[in-house]
């Protein structure tokens, strides 16, 4: 099973404050462990929402673009991992060990990623094959 592990933003991350050298070192050690255990598929930090944008769909009218920053800091995302593990419980055990050297209040959300089997008959064999092809081709863009 694949899970997206979402690190929520903080005032510091939104202000563009970089993590301390100690935290960077511990995070890199943690990521190495994830890689060694064969569970890390991706791990990335995001720049503050001031560098981002939103595209809003309102139904019938054309979508509009709104530039960041966005106000609701605690709901924003500051980074993420994609982990391949056997269960939510296993993902939780890994996430409990995410370094928090700065002792700041923070929150991490863990969400399962859909697999082809979840879509049932709506994902026809033809669509499934097309999706697998696209997935394989996307690896060349990585």
């Amino acid at each position: 099973m694949r899970f997206m592990v979402i690190m929520k933003a903080s005032e510091q991350s939104e202000a563009g404050e970089m993590p301390s050298t100690q935290l960077l070192a511990e995070m890199s050690k943690f990521n190495e462990e994830l890689v060694r255990a064969g569970v890390m598929l991706a791990g990335e930090g995001l720049s503050p929402s001031s560098e981002g944008a939103r595209v809003q769909f309102s139904g019938d009218s054309a979508p509009s673009v709104v530039d960041g920053p966005f106000a609701e800091t605690k709901e924003l995302i500051a980074g993420f991992w994609i982990l391949q593990v056997r269960s939510l419980a296993e993902a939780v055990e890994w996430v409990k060990r995410v370094p928090n050297t700065d002792g700041a209040h923070h929150q991490i959300e863990i969400r399962r990623i859909f697999e082809a089997a979840d879509f049932g008959d709506n994902l026809t064999p033809e669509l499934r094959e097309a999706e697998e092809k696209a997935r394989a081709a996307a690896e060349n863009n990585a």
Partner: protein, 118 residues
């Protein structure tokens, strides 16, 4: 540069309603275009937050508290994501304006550059 593009959740995605065959087909075609244009690195959909969990660290805590989903603030939750390669936020925003929306639902897609990416 690489970007994380997030589709925000809706009442339907949080209720676990499977996407319609029409949406699955259009999304498949959209993703194929993104692959062919060299933009798509990864695409994934997330199951409802009812299947998820959160870990909360309070100030000074070493041990986090575990809270099981579902989580209430639907519009702030993420329902799906793309990781895309591109030159600018504006370029990705133009691409995303064309994201399939056969049901004409209201919704938001958020685009965020990955830090330290060239």
């Amino acid at each position: 540069m690489k970007f994380l593009v997030m589709v925000k959740a809706s009442a339907a995605s949080e209720a676990g309603e499977p996407p319609s065959p029409e949406l699955i087909e259009q999304m498949g075609r959209f993703n194929e275009e993104l692959v062919a244009s060299g933009h798509l690195v990864q695409a994934a959909g997330l199951t409802p937050s009812a299947e998820g969990a959160r870990l909360l660290w309070f100030e000074g805590d070493q041990t986090p508290q575990l809270v099981d989903g579902p989580f209430a603030e639907t519009k702030e939750l993420v329902a799906g994501l793309w990781i895309l390669r591109g030159e600018s936020v504006a370029e990705i925003a133009e691409l995303m304006k064309r994201a399939p929306n056969p049901d004409r639902s209201a919704g938001t897609v958020e685009i965020r550059p990955l830090a330290g990416e060239l």
